[in-house]
Amino acid sequence: MATADNSPTRDFVAGDRQGRARRVMLGLVALLLVTSTLSLGIGASGVSLWSVLGQIARAEAVAPREALILFDIRAPRLALGLLVGAALAVSGAVMQGLFRNPLADPGLVGVGAGAGLGAITAIVLGGLLPLALQDVVGFYLVPLAAFLGGWLTTLFLYRISTSRGRTSVAVMLLGGIALGALAGAVSGVLIYMADDAQLRDLTFWGLGSLAGATWDKVLVAGPLIALVLVVTPFLAQSLNALALGEGPAAHLGIPVQRMKTISILTVAGATGAAVAVSGGIGFVGIVVPHLLRILTGPDHRYLLPNAALLGAALLVGADMIARSVIAPAELPIGIVTATLGGPFFLWILLRNRSLLDL
């Protein structure tokens, strides 16, 4: 049993799931490559990925229509799906670690609604900002506002549900419902105030869809989500320690206050970016981390990267379903994830009722 904690180990130590987590990670990378390739190859236009790749390989000019469909429609859609899927799953996992409960999902407890309110405010009232400021923030206004909305909601939720280092699940869930309803009401007022052009923006956005993905949108969401994905590995051990409680985590030398602040910013950043470009896509943040915890355990050093991989693969897969069920029309992807995620969520609840009694 003399093996170092972090080196790949050949001899088996009971209770050590790191090896399995690494194998699952490889599997998820493969899954992600397969779904991404399929997603590039499938579409209403019938353009074949292979014929385009063949043209490129033979150094022929790619037919303009095919090039347009592949590089300006399918590729940005794939990129957006990957980014949003990873963001939703990771923000779910981080939030669950922070609240020490597998039911804490940004979509479920009002953070998504808060981010949505931020985005709607930016769309409807953004025109009122001084022109100079509009120039500065440019098309980052909507994601920034969504981030701000998500951040304030998460911060407030943590404040009300945690006292003396203990998080109350009841307060978190009920407070989340209240915050979500409040954000929804204010959003409704804003939508009522919107003019026709803004309304078109809003409907498009509110569907929870990857339709209309452009490279611009990828550029809007990409940096924030990339930042989050870079930061989360540094949170992993802190979130592991936090599972013992705030006091014990501090005794392990974790700067608890700082890691909580970073976690909250991380959740808000990922949720805000995802909501800003795709509306509210539910259940990815709760289903993906839960599945991975069952499979490889709650160690965040593996849970967070694996959640990013599985979330990305899942969303790209769901998007393919959304595009092909009623082709050539398409379903909003939110409907697909809710159809898959709703029953799964109920299953989590029924399988483990004690989660609510914390």
Partner: protein, 261 residues
């Protein structure tokens, strides 16, 4: 040496600690006893900065309020009174969390070693949630031991702060845990423990602090603190030390118990 001077602490606006001082030396076991609600847990939490306090706590001469958390974590480990864990970790994964704080990377078998030390050899693959209360408590003790495994480090003694480490254990495992504490102190480490059982305290403590109502009622070696008068005053009932019942009666004293093997 751990020295706390004139510690005051309030909880929810009520003063709970009203000027407690305590000195604990490495190489010794210092035990805190007192009736329920007398502030034992609160004192331990103040000594480990779990709650805001007034007064000064020096660890080997340095004010703990001025030491960074990561450095304190290499020098002391804390066992809370009750622990509940959020996610389905295995026992091995829980014990390995103690190694996060280690200044130098611990050998890979350290977690299993710590589990064996608390009598949980072979429990690595079990889920923490599935353990009994006493087993969970010992698994947490293994995590705490793994954190400060060597009782003396290059920069001085290591410290264990334990809140009722034997509270839900049977007599055999109580002896086992008392032995761990004694070994740790004998090897040069410091041990500060909140205790419930007066007999075990009398046997194992080098120094006792008897608390009542947020104050120190008496302090010193067990023989000096555990007198009829002091204990009767502290616990609000008539207590007689070192007396056996006049009529034939059954009693089981840890004094007369030995660990098997």
């Amino acid at each position: 040496m751990l020295s706390a001077t004139d510690i005051h602490a309030d909880l929810a606006g009520t003063p709970i600690l009203r000027g407690v001082s305590l000195t604990a030396r490495p190489g010794q076991i210092t035990m805190i006893v007192g009736p329920n609600g007398s502030g034992k847990t609160t004192l331990l939490r103040a000594l480990t900065q779990d709650l805001p306090y007034r007064g000064r706590v020096l660890l080997d001469g340095a004010d703990i309020a001025a030491l960074p958390g990561w450095e304190l974590a290499t020098r002391r480990a804390v066992l809370p009174q009750a622990s509940r864990i959020a996610f389905p970790f295995t026992v091995l994964e829980i014990v390995r969390l103690g190694l996060i704080a280690a200044a130098t990377p611990a050998p890979g078998h350290r977690a299993s070693e710590a589990l064996a030390r608390v009598g949980l050899a072979g429990f690595e693959g079990r889920f923490y949630q599935d353990l009994s209360g006493g087993e969970q408590q010992r698994a947490q003790l293994a995590r705490v031991l793994a954190q400060v495994w060597d009782p003396v480090g290059p920069d001085g003694a290591r410290w264990l702060f334990l809140d009722e480490p034997v509270a839900s254990l049977d007599i055999g495992h109580q002896l086992e845990v008392m032995e761990i504490m004694a070994d740790y102190a004998r090897a040069g480490g410091g041990v500060v423990a909140v205790m419930h059982d007066l007999n075990l305290t009398a046997i194992h403590a080098d120094q006792v602090l008897l608390m009542q109502d947020g104050r120190c009622l008496a302090a010193g070696p067990p023989a000096a603190v555990f007198t009829d008068a002091i204990l009767s005053a502290a616990y609000g009932c008539t207590v007689r030390v070192n007396a056996t019942p006049p009529a034939p009666a059954t009693f089981v004293l840890p004094h007369m118990a030995r660990r098997a093997g």
